[in-house]
Amino acid sequence: MSLQIEHVTKRFGDFTAVNDLSLTVGEGAMYGFLGANGAGKTTTFRMILGLLTPNEGRITWNGKPISYATSPHIGYLPEERGLYPKMKVEEQLLFLAELRGMKRSDAKREIGGWLDRFEVPQYLNKKVEELSKGNQQKIQVIAALLHKPKLIILDEPFSGLDPVNVEMLKKAILDIRNSGATIVFSSHRMDHVEELCEQFSIIDHGKQIVSGTLKEVKRSFGKQNVRIRSDFKLDALAGLPGVNSVKPTVEGAVYQVDSDETAERLLTEALKAGPVRQFEIEEPTLQDIFIAKVGKEHA
């Protein structure tokens, strides 16, 4: 049950929205899509859903192209609202669940459980437009998950939610992942991706500029920070090969280096000069990687 995207390119006229994108999401995996606004995330999702056809490449789910026959197994949360403002919560969820091939009676039973879980059972007979943005988002998540899809696509699921609700939704998503569903989601919140995803891609202007598991990406980023605290001046160390930049701190400096070897050499050199109080190799955060990669592309 894996989702496979192979060399997919999507052009609108002269504009290339997605350029040669390839990735594989294994069954039961959670895949993160990072990218600035307009990077091509939503276009990619629309292609996965079959709303748009790629100009080149192919997208398969279990080795078969995605079609309307597959749609009962897919859950989709569009970027915003995604609900009828004037329909009541229950009617709406029943309608969307039925469309995804669920039996009305089954759906009715499940809805209660979900609303309780998200602590909003009182909204069952309220119109969606009467709900706050956060509560609407909860209803929308229910709509995407209700029919127990095998492949779930979430476009910015956490936007507009307070931290308590974010935790609640994260837990729901993790639970459904643990029950075997494959999940692809996009975000521009690095911490969510870092926390939830085994694998991810960073997309910029339609190009996949980084992809892989978190560990691989961090390793191959080739830049890590080395923090040294000492009682003496560390100026001499700045000239070592492999050191990209130095940021002085109160009692030492933070060096950005290109490899583990450089970090080791830094330590050796520092120890030669005198006692070192602290030496730490800091892994780059996703934030660093994103800014470095996307920022460079923009430059």
Partner: protein, 418 residues
């Protein structure tokens, strides 16, 4: 097909359950009953309003006009009582000014034995009383003149013998005058129904599609069901809603006119006496309503799929609305003379056909091929529009941004293909 019915049901039920739909339906049904009982209601109001026996003070200078006037008024079953008075004109004028009396009449015969009458009143809108008096005086005058010429009453009668005038239209397509008058009213009513239904429901569809688009529900919908299916389910769902509503009105109207008192059918009801109507007119009304609806609804869905915000819907469907209005104006212009040449041409233009061809087929005896050809043209247009609409729709529903012009159709087709 399952998804088709789910969307059909959703389009129908959510609209049918809205307050505005229920209220409109109830109000119109109430209006139909009110209208059908209008004569009875008016009769009961009459007691309060006017028509009480009126007493009119008359200054009769000649002294020989008062009695004949009373006699004529009585013969006409008028409820005006003439009260001869000796009071002076000035006194009476004062009484009128102070509103003690409504009016008075001054009469005298001039040197040629012609009645000179003056009706004095404060009211400027009263027309029926002076008119009744004038007619009565005319009769009195005739009597005076007849006396002068020493004519017997038979001779007078023979002078006023009515001409026998009969209209005999031998044009192949014309209907008899009676038929035509009845047809005119029926056609007029049905034209209104078709016009409003088409404007109302196609507007509803465009708004509905735009709402789904702006709320992004559309993306969920069309990832479960093809845009084409979605579009036609929507058009059919709301169309069925319209038919249900109109059938309700029809039943209400039928019951209302059947149950309204017989005297009422002699009043306004006699307008609605459709006994001589060709049942084919009703069949054509249904056919043209359905075709007109589907034509405009498909167009509306197409246009609705191009806008991203419900606020832009009205602007987008404006050309379509203007087309319906034009059709209505054309058809209305033909109510008086359905044989106008331009109507013949207009009735074959699919967007005008539902109203204009219906007018012609309802009021003229057209050769069978004319309505059939128009229906065929409409069916082809609906088919083409449906096919074209589906292509635009596929892309249109995915298009966001400030799109609000017809140029976007090209963009939408492009996107739909990709």
């Amino acid at each position: 097909m399952r998804e088709f019915w789910i969307i059909f049901k959703q389009a129908f039920m959510t609209k049918a359950r809205t307050k505005s739909f229920v209220i409109t339906t109830v109000l119109v049904v109430a209006g139909i009953f009110l209208l059908s009982n209008l004569p009875r209601i008016l009769d009961s109001i009459d007691g309060i309003g006017g028509d009480e026996p009126t007493t009119l003070k008359v200054i009769d200078a000649s002294g020989q006009l008062g009695d004949p006037l009373t006699a004529v008024l009585q013969a006409n079953e008028s409820d005006i009582t003439v009260e001869p008075t000796e009071e002076s004109e000035k006194d009476l004028e004062k009484q009128v000014r102070s509103e003690d009396i409504d009016s008075f009449l001054t009469l005298y015969l001039d040197e040629t034995n012609t009645i000179q009458a003056k009706y004095t009143t404060l009211s400027s809108i009263e027309t029926s009383l002076p008119e009744t008096l004038r007619n009565a005086l005319q009769t009195v005058q005739a009597g005076v003149k007849a006396d002068e010429l020493s004519l017997s009453s038979e001779q007078v009668d023979s002078l006023f013998t009515q001409v026998n005038f009969e209209k005999n239209n031998i044009s192949a397509s014309a209907k008899s005058e009676d038929e035509l008058n009845q047809a005119r009213i029926l056609v007029y009513i049905l034209m209104f129904v078709i016009y409003f239904a088409v404007i109302l429901y196609s507007g509803m569809i465009a708004t509905e599609v735009a709402t789904e688009k702006s709320s992004r529900v559309m993306e969920i919908l069309i990832s479960s069901v093809s845009p084409v299916k979605h579009m036609f389910a929507k058009v059919l769902g709301i169309g069925t809603l319209g038919i249900v509503q109109i059938v309700l009105y029809g039943i209400a109207g039928f019951i209302a006119f059947k149950t309204s008192p017989s005297e009422a059918t002699e009043g306004i009801g006699s307008f609605f006496n459709f006994t001589d109507i060709n049942p084919m007119t009703l069949v054509y009304a249904v056919v043209f309503f359905l075709l007109g609806y589907f034509l405009y609804a498909t167009l509306a869905a197409l246009l609705g799929s191009l806008v991203s915000r419900t606020e832009d819907v009205q602007q987008m469907i404006m050309p379509m609305t203007l087309m319906i209005v034009a059709a209505f104006i054309l058809a209305a212009s033909g109510l008086g003379n359905p044989e106008l040449v331009y109507l013949k041409y207009a009735s074959f233009f699919p967007f005008f056909t539902p109203l204009v061809m219906f007018l012609r087929v309802g009021m003229l005896d057209l050769p069978m091929w004319e309505p059939l050809l128009a229906i065929a043209i409409m069916l082809v247009t609906i088919f083409v529009l449906g096919w074209f609409g589906a292509r635009v729709y596929r892309g249109g529903v995915l298009m966001y941004g400030p799109s609000r012009s017809l140029k976007d159709i090209k963009k939408a087709i492009q996107l739909g293909k990709e």
